[in-house]
């Protein structure tokens, strides 16, 4: 168990392509940190740099306080779970679990004890003698996790470990990973492009875009106070409604509340913050035509076409009360729930 610190870490590929702009990141001992972002944002590269599978162009990677830039992956005492599991197909499950321990010269009795322990925790005891190809996707996933935990490493690195599973299994494994990480209390870095996975798993989320960190914070912080336009658009499903100040002004009938500053270029509101009645709070009222209703169980997503700017606003309503297709609807955007972003930089304005 150890903290991981990145100081001024940068990655440039040949041909002067910068994958990671210099960044600092401190991951506390025992923390589960999730790196999230669209594909190509550099999150996997960053993880691979921590693992030692990619060289670091500039800056320092430290695991447990000591610099590890020059150390081989094997010497960093980390374990990694790959997207395709990377199980050794010619070895049994037991062979897969033992491989890392054998390479490190662990005594036989210790190996057996650790494999037993991992098999018990992950409930893969019955499959120990099988080959990976005889296992289902979820079982392979468990074996991949088992291979990580038998080593008792300083840190776990997860590279989109759930993206090859179907939706239901993904939900289950997510819960299990979180429980496992809590009980082992091992520092973990988890890479995903799925913002829901990031929100549910993380102690802290790092939202990345184009090789830069957009925001670091607790899942609730990132959701409630997105630091930039990018984070606002990326986190949350359905996504935040984002309007240009002028667009919203047009829809609102020519004027906006005082609280909207002069620098504000974009105004955002979460679909679940849009209300059907003002309830006496200061709010911006806009009217549109209901274009589509997506019932998702307890609530519905309503797509409202705003006539003056021809933009679509998404709102969440309980059940499907009071909405019907093609009807006109007036909704209220509470002023307190608006997010404002700078016209030039796209950063949040409070």
């Amino acid at each position: 168990m150890a903290a991981i610190d990145l100081a001024g870490v940068k990655k440039t590929y040949p041909g002067n392509v910068t994958a990671i702009h210099p960044l600092d990141l401190n991951i506390a001992d025992g923390e589960l940190l999730v790196l999230v972002g669209p594909s190509g944002c550099g999150k996997s590269t960053l993880l691979r740099m921590i693992a030692g599978l990619e060289t670091v162009t500039e800056g320092e990677v430290m695991i447990g306080g000591g610099p590890v830039n020059k150390r081989e992956p094997a010497e960093r005492d980390i374990a990694m779970v790959f997207q395709n599991y990377a199980l050794y197909p010619h070895m049994s499950v037991r062979g897969n679990l033992e491989y890392g321990l054998k390479n490190r010269g662990t005594p036989r009795a210790e190996i057996d004890a650790r494999v037993e322990e991992a098999a018990r925790i992950l409930e893969i005891g019955p499959f120990l003698e099988r080959k990976p190809r005889q296992l289902s996707g979820g079982q392979r996933q468990r074996v991949a996790m088992g291979r990580a935990i038998v080593r008792h490493p300083k840190a776990f690195l997860f590279d989109e470990p759930l993206s090859n599973l179907d939706a239901k299994l993904r939900g289950q494994m997510r819960v299990e990973i979180k429980r496992l990480q809590r009980s082992l209390n091992t520092t973990s870095v988890y890479v995903t492009h799925d913002q829901l996975e990031a929100m549910t798993l993380a102690d802290r989320v790092v939202v990345m875009n184009a090789g830069r960190i957009e925001q670091i914070g607790k899942p609730t912080e990132v959701y409630e106070r997105p630091a930039s336009l990018f984070v606002a658009g990326f986190v949350g499903s359905p996504p935040m409604n984002l309007f240009g100040t002028d667009e919203l002004k047009t829809e609102a009938g020519g004027s906006l509340p005082e609280s909207i500053g002069a620098n504000t270029g974009t105004i955002g509101i979460r679909p679940d913050a849009v209300t059907l009645s003002a309830n006496g709070n200061p709010a911006i009222a806009v009217t549109g035509t209901i274009e589509l209703i997506e019932p998702v169980g307890g609530e519905s997503h309503v797509y409202l076409r705003l006539p003056k700017t021809d933009r679509v606003m998404i709102l969440v309503v309980r059940g499907h009360e009071g909405v019907s297709l093609a009807a006109d609807l007036t909704v209220h955007l509470p002023v307190g729930a608006l997010h404002q972003f700078d016209a030039g930089t796209g950063r949040r304005i409070d």
Binding site: L53, A74, M80, N84, A86, P89, H90, G100, N103, R151
Partner: protein
Amino acid sequence: MQTKRVVFSNRGLPYALLAPQLAITFVFFLWPAGQAIWQSFLREDAFGLKTSFVGVENYLRLLREPDYLNSLSVTGVFAVSTTVLSMGLALLLAAAADRMIRSRDAYTTLLVWPYAVAPAVAGVLWWFMFNPTIGIMSYLLEQLGYDWNHRLSGTDAMIMVVIVAAWKQISYNFLFFLAGLQSIPHSLSEAAAIDGAGPVKRFFTVVLPLLSPTTFFLMVVNIVYAMFDTFGIIHATTEGGPSQATNILVYKVFEDGFIGLNLGSSAAQSVILMVIVIGLTVIQFRFVERRVAY
């Protein structure tokens, strides 16, 4: 693997589609093979005036003939050495090329060239290089204190034909090994690296076992190659000599049949050769393949 049953509306069509392949198999394999089997039971007099049926006499004579038994063991040494040498070097080259990213295609192209060289030309090429009088290799060996002469030394001659045969086959093996290496997911090597295995250990514990289907396939192909397709190489270099040292079975078939004009014995030898290769292939696929599947 799932087989798909195709239903043809016309009953004659599948036979018509198969006909060209079957015709080729019949004309170029079944017919001559049948002729060889029939001829192996016959004996012709020296002037070709009279042919008589002698049963298995040709076979029995072969088994008593020291030259033939020598040829059997020469073939064994030749086939095994050629296979081991060409596969070993090919694997080494493939592993090296696999590490390259941009230059890989260039290396691949260059390494495939020897395959385009005709066996006889390859033989002559090396024959010149190893020529005891004017050859560069024999000159270099002489500098090292070795008196190379494949015209007198059976061992030298064997080493030379093995080198020629292996050299020609390296390209083929290289292509298959490279394809095999590239089909192994990179993440497996990375996982092994994180699991504390160094490059050499990774190669032997992860890469090589995963290559075993390729290795097995190449082994079968190479042994068959060494036994059958190396006629041109032997003919262009040693002609089976010196003193039968490189007279492999397929060359002896030619020598006894077309130079010695003992057609009956030659036919019997080719039947035995055919049985050996069929047997080897069946044994390999039946028993070895089971152990390499994972």
